[in-house]
């Protein structure tokens, strides 16, 4: 049983942290604290999704916020115009964004390196421009009002829902990463063109990766729409991409959950130290800069280093 659980990628440490989170959601009554937990987890989920692409096939999706925003809009529209429940909306959001991600992946097939980031940036900007221009559907800058995920949903309810979503997505992503598919991702990330020599079809895996990560971004984006209650083109703003990207890199590129820890570390810190709120984005930026220069391995790298000192592996000196 233990082996089965760990094969899902759920290490003891991870389960402990998860348990702490669940306990917190059961016992914490303070509305403000609960909101903080939801937002931290949300950004952590998006950072994890971002890392699935950035940390593995080495493609920095610079239009990420727009993909999340697309999921938000899709879920919002489904919730507003159809009688189907919120889950249908989230599913539609994931599918639509996954499809756009697939399409973006195709657009980036002939490109390499920075050009991939540029293309995804431009696609993201196009989405944002479309959201503003297609007034009839999106109400442009005024935005859409989104009903709650279910009637009278409390913040605690949202937190439970997000935790479950996080767990499911994490397990799925982790399984993929640990499978031969994950190896293929890493091969492409190292060198797209020579990956073929290892027997990997780079096209297939690149598209797979883009589609999955976009779908997840859209899924969480849909959650965000219900949670916040309003969707405007601003959700697709570059700033959010930067924040998510910063969390992902500070957490450690390739670690998947590193970004979640970074989010829980930084977001409450910035929020609670009110005076720091103004400086929040500056500090994000500076942290990203410092991590890039001095410690590209991020929090995950730090964790590895520390845990090796505390728990030296048997057989290693």
């Amino acid at each position: 049983m233990v082996r089965k659980i760990s094969s899902l990628g759920l290490s003891l440490q991870f389960l402990a942290c998860l348990a702490a989170l669940v306990l917190a959601s059961i016992f914490v009554r303070n509305e403000y604290a609960l909101r903080l937990l939801v937002i931290s987890l949300y950004f952590g989920c998006q950072a994890m999704t971002f890392d699935f692409t950035g940390g593995y096939i080495n493609a920095v999706n610079f239009g990420f916020a727009a993909f999340a925003g697309l999921g938000a809009y899709a879920a919002a529209l489904v919730a507003i115009h159809t009688g189907l429940g919120a889950w249908a909306g989230l599913l539609v959001g994931a599918l639509v964004t996954g499809f756009v991600g697939f399409f973006t992946g195709i657009l980036t097939l002939p490109l390499r390196g920075i050009y991939v980031s540029l293309m995804s940036w431009f696609v993201g900007m196009t989405l944002m421009a479309l959201a503003t221009a297609m007034e009839a559907v999106t109400r442009g800058a005024r935005g859409l009002i989104v009903p709650p995920i279910f009637k009278d949903a409390t913040t605690t309810a949202y937190l439970y829902i997000l935790i479950s979503m996080f767990l499911v997505v994490y397990i799925i992503l982790n399984l993929i990463i640990r499978s031969p598919i994950g190896l293929a991702f890493r091969a492409i990330g190292q060198n797209y063109d020579t990956a073929q020599a290892s027997g990997v079809n780079p096209t297939r895996y690149k598209l797979l990766n883009f589609t999955i990560s976009s779908a997840c971004a859209g899924l969480f984006g849909g959650f965000y729409a219900h949670y916040v209650g309003i969707v405007t083109p601003v959700v697709m703003n570059m700033g959010y991409t930067l924040e998510i990207m910063a969390l992902s890199f500070i957490g450690g590129s390739g670690s998947l959950v590193g970004g979640v820890f970074a989010a829980f570390l930084l977001i409450p810190m910035f929020d609670s130290l009110k005076s720091l709120m103004e400086y929040r984005l500056i500090l994000y930026g500076m942290l990203l800069i410092l991590v890039m220069i001095f410690y590209p391995a991020g929090l995950a790298g730090l964790y590895q280093k520390v845990s090796r000192k505390i728990f030296p592996k048997k057989g290693k000196s």
Partner: protein, 298 residues
């Protein structure tokens, strides 16, 4: 379309183009010489705008002097940025340079924008005009500010061109962009050239922001549009290609002018972006080609 509207659009396009060229050349230099996909370029435009604003409004300096002060100020900011940020990154980051530098400038962009916000608030710092006059060109009335800004841009670009082609240092900059090891072997100090290049790029951006103060006021997030515009031009022209950036700037200026007329604000953006995406698909190295081979790898 009647000839007068066409002339008007042409003129607007060219005037816009001039400023785009200014921004794009700065970006192309930074990319070509330092291999940095500069994401904070717009913030130096804003810096120049703020500097010019305070020089002109607070210290009541002459418009030309204000603009020159702003340009020098942006130059110094560029020097500082390279020495404090890119120099340490160069020393430490060998493999993933392009992505790391890119991300660093993204972080820098966020930092600068919020520093502006904290220092100057969200107020728009603008002026009605440097020169309270209007000029008639081909029967169309244009504000003097706009025309003079255009000529400043042309002058700056011409000066930059001569600098790069005829002077020893300019040649060195070109050399570094073509073969770093070769540059080392002829005795060129790479760090100095990098600092100078970044400072020049920042100066050009600041010059743009300063000369267009009456048309685009200084405010913390004012760098986004110039950033996107200069990236447009550079992507269309070919990353790192300075000559291409000059022609590309005018092309983009004209394209935007005409598409704005036909499609209106919202859809014009979509049109530009679609064009950009198509171009990236079919000719990623840009219309005029990029000399940079390493940009193809990570």
């Amino acid at each position: 379309m009647d000839p007068e509207t066409a002339a008007n659009l042409l003129l607007t396009g060219m005037l816009r183009g001039g400023l785009y060229v200014l921004m794009a050349v700065g970006l192309a230099l930074v990319f070509g010489v330092m291999n940095i996909c500069h994401f904070a370029h717009g913030e130096y435009y804003v810096l120049g705008a703020y500097a010019a604003y305070f020089a002109f409004v607070t210290y009541s300096l002459n418009p030309i002097v204000s603009i020159i002060v702003a340009a020098l100020f942006s130059f110094m900011a560029g020097v500082l940025t390279d020495k404090l940020l890119f120099y340490p990154l160069r020393k430490r980051s060998k493999g993933d340079w392009i992505i790391n530098a890119f991300l660093l400038t993204a972080g820098l962009s966020v930092v600068l924008q919020n520093v502006f916000r904290l220092a100057f608030g969200m107020r728009y710092r603008g002026i009605t005009a440097y020169w309270d006059a209007a000029i008639k060109i081909l029967g169309i009335t244009v504000s003097a500010d706009r025309v003079i800004a255009f000529f400043i841009a042309l002058l700056a670009i011409a000066a930059m061109w001569i600098f790069l082609q005829k002077t020893n240092t300019g040649r060195a900059i070109r050399g570094v962009s073509q073969d770093e090891q070769g540059a080392l072997l002829v005795g060129i100090n790479l760090d100095s050239i990098h600092t100078l290049t970044f400072a020049l790029g920042s100066m050009l951006a600041g010059l743009g922001g300063a000369s267009l103060l009456s048309l685009s006021p200084a405010y913390p997030f004012g760098g986004n549009k110039p950033l996107i515009a200069s990236w447009f031009v550079v992507t269309i022209a070919g990353l790192g290609n300075v000559q291409g950036a000059i022609i590309g700037g005018f092309i983009v200026g004209l394209f935007e002018s005409f598409s704005y007329y036909f499609l209106g604000q919202g859809w014009q953006e979509v049109a530009s972006l679609s064009l950009l995406i198509l171009l990236l698909l079919f000719k990623p190295t840009g219309l005029f080609g990029t000399q940079i081979k390493s940009v193809w790898e990570r």
